[in-house]
């Protein structure tokens, strides 16, 4: 375990499988994908992309996904309705570790009922669901956690000062059930699990972001 992570904590993603919504800071910023790849548990993965999301944000590239490329099933959906159907169908399959769905803009099919259905299906069958919104607005949603994720200037490269180093992300939790919202600059780091093993997770130095979030909440 690298020593540099002392005091760092994992980002407060939900412990139990449920629906989380991630808003990309900009459709051409794939920062959320790096953060999500660290957060996902190993195992078969269903990745649903709407056609428009592929055109705007690029197609999933297995070579850049590392360990998740092995069990990946990629679905190209015609529109948001088909994408939501494929996600819900995937959530009923307990052999999957997670379902990721990317939607472009604010489609009419994505209303409160649709997100609520996804959240209920994810919780009932124990499959984590991540709804990615590219270029969308944070309207009404049944997601248990709502994040806004973008890239942040990367950490210093250990050997080459002019090269991009390990990635860092600007992650804002702006709505969550049962916990305070917060704002973090996160990087990748090792975090000890309950059983003594260490997992590579998105981590942040808790004090500035989390405390600030609580402060803002108290003021509001």
């Amino acid at each position: 375990m690298p020593a540099g992570n002392a005091g760092a904590v994992a980002l407060p993603f939900p412990d139990a499988p449920t629906l989380s919504e991630l808003f990309a800071a900009s459709p051409r910023d794939a920062g959320w994908a790096g953060l999500l790849a660290l957060q996902l548990r190993p195992g078969p993965l269903l990745w649903v992309q709407e056609r428009m999301a592929i055109l705007e944000g690029g197609r999933v590239h297995p070579a850049g996904l590392g360990r998740h490329a092995d069990g990946l099933i990629h679905v190209e959906a015609r529109d948001a309705r088909a994408a939501l159907w494929a996600m819900e169908e995937g959530l009923r399959c307990q052999a999957l570790s997670a379902v990721v769905g990317e939607l472009w803009g604010d489609p009419a099919a994505l209303d409160f009922t649709a997100t609520r259905r996804l959240a209920v299906a994810a919780e009932r069958h124990g499959v984590a669901a991540y709804l990615i919104r590219l270029g969308g607005h944070a309207n009404l949603s049944g997601a248990r956690q709502r994040w806004r994720v973008g890239s942040a200037p990367s950490a210093v490269h250990p050997f080459d000062g002019r090269a991009p180093g390990p990635p860092r992300w600007d992650a804002e939790l702006f709505r969550a059930r049962g916990r305070a919202p917060g704002h973090w600059i996160a990087g990748e780091g090792w975090v000890a699990g309950d059983d003594g093993s260490a997992d590579l997770l998105p981590v942040a130095a808790e004090p500035p972001g989390g405390a600030l979030g609580q402060e803002q909440r108290r003021l509001a």
């Binding site: 994908a33 269903l46 197609r59 590239h61 297995p62 959906a77 169908e89 200037p153 990635p167």
Partner: protein, 480 residues
């Protein structure tokens, strides 16, 4: 009357009964027939169209038997072994065929016999419609003309000249005497032996392994849109029972709806692993079954395996909970049926250095069992690869560049990005054994703009490489 263009004028290809009565002779000249009765109407025959239609009819005849062959220009041959009891016996089956083909508006003759040769002869030259056993076949064939043996014109002519006008006459002649007179290819003895079943008929399609199939015939044609779904619920348990008995699992499933007008509606679904789980099969086809168009009405449905594999009796798990692999396969099947097999895919990396070629995809239905290898060139560790790849690289406009040639500021999709940090180049040469000689090499850079967004950009070509003008820059991927 239909006519064909021949070398010396028009020949009569086919004629109605009324025309035959007034002197038209099939195979004769149109001018001869017109001389007898100038009122005869002639239409040019469409031989290719007839053949295509007959092929279509052969598909429709699948309602009676899975093994149907087009026989010559005007016949169909069905292997009805073990089929007749489904229709209440051979005679009922024949009556059903005659009635349904007549409904389509065609005169027809049909016969059932133990051999293909005998059935051909009896259908065309009349006689007993249903025959069983060699003795009965011989008795039925005996009064028919020798042409019924399906020999070529010369052999038939020789037999007639010898005074052997009926099939029965051949039995009276010593075999040795007959054997000497004819050449091997069109031997009347062979034809007789084939018709009587003493010799195997090589044309008869005998498959040891007919496709698993379940059939339901309606009393009345149905036009109700629910008919497909109802037939499916009826057929699935029957097909599953047959699959269980034969220890098979389907990979491709077809629901065929036979319409009264002789056309066939089809719904098709593929599965990624062999299965005979009734609930799953019914669910795969239920949407498509409901959307089958009855047009003038369905009068039969068949559920058939298009592709099947061996599947031994297996128990998924002790508590009836399906295993992960099987559950994933079912998910892939459902998604593929609804969205199309080419939309549900798995990564299948190829041995290539070009990123867009290395990250190949295959339909998940086809390759669920084969795990992709992570050791392919593109996936080796130590290479920085973006986790998003644009389907086609997008050109960027370089506003100004460093002395080494790397852009400092570029425009992509009408937005300006200032490069803060860059790493590279990684040079990827074109695959000269596949591409044209003008293909240019690529120098890939991983760059980060001032906001922290990371891109994978490349320069195509070098200055002065003799393969075009100034090199262009492209964005190819996004790093997370």
């Amino acid at each position: 009357m239909f006519t064909l263009e021949a070398q010396h004028g028009q020949l009569i290809h086919a004629a109605t009964e009324a025309a035959v009565e007034r002197g038209a002779r099939i195979g004769g000249r149109l001018t001869d027939a017109r001389a007898l009765d100038p009122a005869l109407a002639a239409v040019a025959a469409d031989v290719a169209g007839d053949a295509a239609w007959l092929r279509g009819l052969a598909g429709w005849a699948g309602r009676w038997s899975p093994l149907v062959e087009v026989d010559g220009a005007d016949g169909l041959r069905l292997d009805v072994t073990g089929v007749a009891h489904l229709f209440g016996g051979e005679r009922r089956l024949l009556a059903d065929m005659a009635e349904r083909v007549a409904t389509l508006g065609f005169s027809n003759r049909a016969a059932i016999a133990p051999t293909a040769g005998a059935a051909w002869a009896l259908a065309r030259y009349g006689g007993e419609a249903v025959t069983v056993g060699e003795r009965q076949v011989a008795a039925a064939l005996a009064p028919l003309p020798v042409a019924a043996l399906r020999l070529d014109a010369r052999a038939t002519h020789t037999l007639v000249r010898l005074g052997l006008k009926q099939v029965g006459d051949l039995a009276g002649v010593p075999r040795k005497a007959l054997a000497r007179r004819f050449r091997e290819a069109d031997h009347p003895l062979d034809a007789l032996d084939r018709a009587l079943g003493r010799k195997a008929e090589p044309l008869t399609a005998v498959t040891q392994d007919p496709p698993p199939r379940a059939l339901v015939a309606m009393k009345e044609p149905v036009v109700h849109p629910e008919a497909g779904t109802q037939a499916l619920t009826l057929l699935v348990p029957r097909l599953v029972a047959e699959l269980e008995r034969r220890k098979l699992g389907v990979r491709e499933l077809l629901l065929l709806g036979y319409r009264v007008d002789g056309s066939v509606a089809e719904a098709r679904a593929a599965t990624s692993i062999p299965t005979r789980e009734p609930k799953h099969l019914a669910r795969l086809l239920s949407d498509k079954a409901a959307s089958l168009d009855p047009e003038f009405g369905f009068d039969a449905f068949a559920l058939q395996a298009g592709w099947w594999e061996r599947l031994d009796a297996a128990q998924d798990a002790l508590v009836g909970e399906p295993s992960g692999e099987a559950e994933l396969a079912r998910l892939v099947d459902r998604l593929s049926v609804k969205l199309g097999p080419d939309k549900v895919r798995r990564p299948a990396p190829r041995e290539s250095h070009l990123p867009e070629r290395a990250s190949g995809w295959v339909a998940a239905v086809a390759s669920l069992s084969s795990r992709p290898s992570t050791t392919a060139l593109g996936l080796r560790p130590g290479r920085a690869r973006p986790n998003r790849l644009l389907d086609r690289p997008e050109a960027i406009a370089v506003i100004y560049a460093t002395p080494e040639g790397l852009p400092r500021r570029f425009v992509w999709r009408r937005q300006v990005h200032d490069i803060a940090r860059a790493q590279g180049p990684e040079r990827i040469a074109p695959e000269w054994w596949r591409e044209r000689s003008t293909a240019r090499l690529r120098d890939y850079y991983k760059v980060e703009d001032t906001a922290g967004c990371r891109f994978w950009i490349f320069r195509q070509g070098l200055v002065g490489d003799g393969r075009g003008g100034a090199p262009d820059w492209f964005v190819h991927g996004l790093f997370g």
